[in-house]
Symmetry: C2
Subunit: 148 residues, 2 copies
């Protein structure tokens, strides 16, 4: 039971942006260095997040990426639903490709659906602003400088 | 967000056994044929389920596999916890190997933990007997004969 690395990195990128002081702009290079992850991988994540309307991109010198909307209007559940390409817990969730012959009389499917709904209901309770919230001990300068 | 195919097949195998009339014994070949899945794959699943105490194996002619305990004493949550090798939703759930530097001040982790607990709480409500329950229209003869 895992979320994809793509979703994991999407959440981290958005949390980074949500924690920045106004105007909340950062470069991919800065975020990649902060998390010590592949810049190329993060470019793909950023492109996807831009296509989904979570971030906007400003080109040129002084440009970068920033949240397209306030962090307190972006739901964690919304992010996971849009970045997680496959929400099919088991084969029969993918009706067109299902081959399991229990399909017509399987209470397990209903059980798993109920569990997945409970999972998403929790994520829908929280916004990106809440997920990104810091405790009093956090060193904010580390975020804006991209340094540890 | 997916369960592994190993968990999917474990659940299907256990549901098959739970639906059988007494003494509830079946062969791997019969179950593989019923679901139209690889026999070799199912042998691995059955070995794992035997090691975890969900099924017992009887060798020789007339032998096969059967549930080690009544289906109404086996929780769906228990099956998923034991068959799903990786319950680490995101990297930081795996503390020894985590590289995400948000770890010390990340409310997202708490959010995801809460969601996973909600997921498992639903599965813990149901037993294998309930997951395997049939509606009135099911052709039981198809199960015991291994034929469609």
């Amino acid at each position: 039971m895992q979320l994809t690395q793509f979703t994991d990195l999407s959440l981290r990128l958005l949390i980074y942006l949500a924690r920045l002081p106004e105007p909340g702009m950062a470069t991919i290079a800065e975020i990649a260095e902060y998390y010590q992850i592949s810049r190329n991988h993060l470019v793909k994540v950023a492109n996807s997040l831009a296509n989904q309307g979570f971030i906007t991109t400003t080109r040129g010198k002084g440009g970068g990426i920033q949240l397209a909307r306030p962090a307190n209007t972006i739901g964690v559940g919304e992010i996971v639903r849009k970045t997680e390409v496959n929400m099919n817990l088991v084969e029969c969730f993918d009706a067109p490709n299902n081959q399991c012959r229990l399909i017509r009389n399987c209470f397990l499917k209903a059980t798993l659906y109920e569990a997945q709904r409970a999972f998403m209901t929790v994520l829908d309770k929280y916004t990106l602003a809440e997920a990104a919230s810091l405790d009093a001990n956090t060193d904010l300068s580390a975020l804006s400088s991209g340094k540890p």
